[in-house]
Point group: C2
Chain length 493, copies 2
């Protein structure tokens, strides 16, 4: 501190000289470089990173959270809209059985409300647009009896197989090698004869993975199902509830409690653990800690420079963990007019780039909000394209789904997750064949004093907010054990 102040006059002289002599000064002079220390530095200010920070702070440790972007929340992102409403541009669903995110939300006084599941869903398939009850006790997909039987038999097989995949070690499944040698597309081709059932399973891949069946290792698919508690639970609990006021609030409230421990606009460039303390560098700033948590998806985490270099298998694993491809759009209407027509808002379409749509209105249905999803190949086709074109395409589909009223929303929003620099895809990593079995154990294995968090390291509700929170708590707990052990060693010495 003394040095900094003492030095200021000299710096002033330099800045003047600089302006005068056009000498390009290192950028660091423009702004005081930050230099801070903490017990633990957390890279990534999403649900995982903030949950880790919260756990560590509650145990009396000092932490710094470095978030690359200009907001916290990661793949949860709530947009306030004119008139006081809000929209979840990213992750939004929770439900019973999620043991980490729900208690956390409650402790932060964030309320849940049930997703809208009343009236009829719509299925557009085989050239027909058909309604069916959104109540699973009443109706199901309007495909032929034979196709339905085929679909249900596939689900039954998948659920049974999924139970054989240990969620903490998918590579240890008795048939791991067989299942990890093929894609979900191959399994569907071989086991699901009817086109209708095939189609519904593709929609499942799009809706849950934001990926095509050809992208997904069948072992990874089974792991995901098991981590979510099976097909039925995914379909019910997985989408049962939403947060009143939006999902990003959880992160915002945690960040508020953490105060100036959380720094935004801090893309980490290097993590150096060659010295006594781990040094974490951004372009201009420098932080030191005893331990580090990297709470980022592996394909982004691997873009940081590490000293020493990451172990070969950690790097190679991270080359095999692509993010799903996802665009989420919203159209806002004065009222949820489709409800009055007896529609739930849920649409699955074979013919439209918006292959999935749901009612995403606030609890009172005012305004009426429809969310549309472009996933997998459709997201890739629409990424980086002008919003006006996409809006036109989406609204054409919405008119077909919901009627002419859909043509004139009061507002339209797009979240192109593949284009987001600090997400580079959504919802999470979609492991191709050969990854789980090729790199057993790598996913959560710490690298020296670096610990990995993020929903990609979760064993329950992988890809969900719940998995993210659990992963942050797990990484924090590991560090607590290590630091306590270190303390004991010091005391004994």
């Amino acid at each position: 501190m003394f040095c900094d102040n003492f030095f200021k006059p000299f710096k002033f002289v330099l800045v003047v000289l600089n302006a005068f002599f056009c000498f390009s000064m290192p950028n660091a002079w423009a702004q005081e470089p930050i230099q801070r220390q903490a017990d633990v530095i957390i890279v990534g200010g999403g649900l995982a990173g903030l949950s880790a920070a919260r756990t560590l702070v509650s145990e009396g440790l000092s932490v710094i959270v470095l978030e690359a972007s200009n907001r916290i929340g990661g793949r949860t992102w709530t947009k306030n809209i004119p008139g006081g409403g809000w929209i979840d541009m990213g992750g939004q669903w929770v439900g019973p059985g999620m043991e980490h995110i729900l208690p956390l939300a409650e402790s932060l006084d964030v309320k849940t409300f049930p997703s809208y599941h009343k009236g009829d869903n719509i299925l557009i398939y085989g050239g027909k647009q058909q309604k069916y009850s959104s109540d699973p006790a009443v109706g199901t997909f309007p495909i032929s009896q034979e196709e339905l039987k085929d679909y249900q038999s596939a689900l039954k097989k998948i659920d049974a197989y999924a139970l054989e995949v240990p969620v903490d070690a998918p590579w240890r499944a008795p048939r791991a090698k067989e299942w990890d040698s093929q894609t979900l597309a191959t399994w569907i081709r071989d086991n699901v004869p009817s086109p209708g059932a095939k189609f519904i399973l593709r929609v499942f891949a799009l809706g849950y993975f934001a990926a095509e069946p050809s992208d997904i290792s069948f072992l990874h698919f089974l792991f995901y199902i098991h981590a979510g508690g099976g097909f039925h639970k995914l379909h019910t609990s997985g989408v049962a509830l939403r947060f009143a006021g939006g999902a990003q609030q959880i992160s915002e409230k945690m960040a508020n409690q953490l105060g100036d421990r959380v720094l935004l606009n801090m893309p980490v460039r290097e993590i150096d653990q060659t010295g006594d303390l781990v040094v974490v560098r951004t372009e201009h700033d420098r932080f030191e800690a005893k331990q580090v948590i990297v709470a980022m998806a592996p394909p982004l985490a691997v873009r940081i420079s590490y000293k020493p270099n990451l172990p070969a298998n950690r790097d190679q694993f991270s080359q095999r963990t692509p993010m799903g491809s996802s665009i989420k759009v919203h159209a806002v209407y004065e009222t949820a007019f489709w409800r009055e027509k007896g529609l739930s808002g849920q649409v699955i379409s074979e013919d439209d780039d918006v292959s999935l749509a749901v009612d995403n209105s606030p609890p009172d249905g005012k305004p009426g909000i429809l969310a549309g999803f472009l996933e997998g190949q459709e997201a890739r086709e629409w990424s980086d394209r002008p919003e006006a074109e996409l809006k036109k395409k989406v609204l054409e589909a919405f008119v077909k789904f919901y009627g002419a009223e859909a043509a004139t929303p009061v507002a339209f929003y797009k979240a192109d997750w593949d284009a987001e620099p600090w997400a580079r895809g959504c919802f999470t990593c979609v492991l191709p064949p050969g990854t789980w079995t090729g790199f057993p154990g790598v996913v959560r294995e710490p690298v020296g004093r670096i610990h990995w968090a993020g929903t990609e390291t979760a064993t329950e509700w992988y890809a969900y907010m719940d998995g993210a929170v659990a992963s942050g708590k797990r990484a924090a707990a590991n560090i607590l054990l290590i630091l306590k052990k270190d303390d004991n060693v010091k005391k004994t010495k």
Copy 2:
């Protein structure tokens, strides 16, 4: 220049103050930051980058080549050994029909010599160690007639399918979607009944892709075969010749000719094309150019920061291009003792982590050198492990293959490519299902003023040195066209 000199006394004062007041100065002051301009900056000093540089210089353009590591040559790396010999730790084989690397070598006065293919090969399979002639006209794999027939029928099918895959657009193959929805493992499972033929095809995946059949999209596999001119050509031309003195010489000689245009130890951190010139930054230095060639494999190229951000599909594509997994070892002996026993040195083993071995001696066979390959799963198991352990394991295998003399080499060398920070795997990218068809056209599509090179962008001899050279020349030719057009526009104005 004037500014730099004028400023020096002030800097001296600062350095003294710094030492005195313990103020941590930005690192940039420690060493004069380099600031240079050129028509084209090339990121990556392997065969692709250097070939591009050479082409551009020959057309009168100024270039700067920035190489991250402390040597040029990329995945070619020749080690000089005591006694005047040399070893190719990386890429080494060329052959007839390679129209880019061979003329380049000739122009640089680097001679080729035939790989050693005399005497008997060894196959260890099904619990038996059997010899067979290394002359394909005389002998072939000692598996049963039925298995052989099965193997040959698979090759025939694969060769025919490969011809249907356009090498410049694999996603346009009539059956692209079908083939890109499955792994090579699935295709083998479905089409190759006998275990012997299955085994030989796995060896093919290991030997040519450094990957497991489960890692490889069947479409990518077919593309590779077509790009190499079919099975027969890959098996003959693909491994026919080596460079006397080693493959890295080609890069070294090109770099010598390019002189101070080539800078080592320059990991590029950022490429910024938001201004009139493209700015390329390393940690300390800054370069400007009209156009940039990134001659790196996609999984490494994507770790650079780009301004503006890379297009969504370029980023997502690069998340789906993992490098193969490869360790290459060498044991050096006074003489090629196996030759005296009538052995070619070539071994394929089902039972050993070194699943492939070859005679890798210099033309006169003195010293005798054996190369062993650990690929795919074996490489992953041995990466980052102590060399002494690996040496023991390899030499045990070599004793089994070649006799007791193999136990005591005069030297042993390991190249763990997955651990190499600027390679992170070898030989090249192994595309999983869904990548070629999911991201059509992305592989070579320039991003603004950034052009992509590297053998990963080749359409002939993908993964080979020849493909690398061709890719560099192609990227350079594109830039020449653009700059000529720009010049014409300026002239007309």
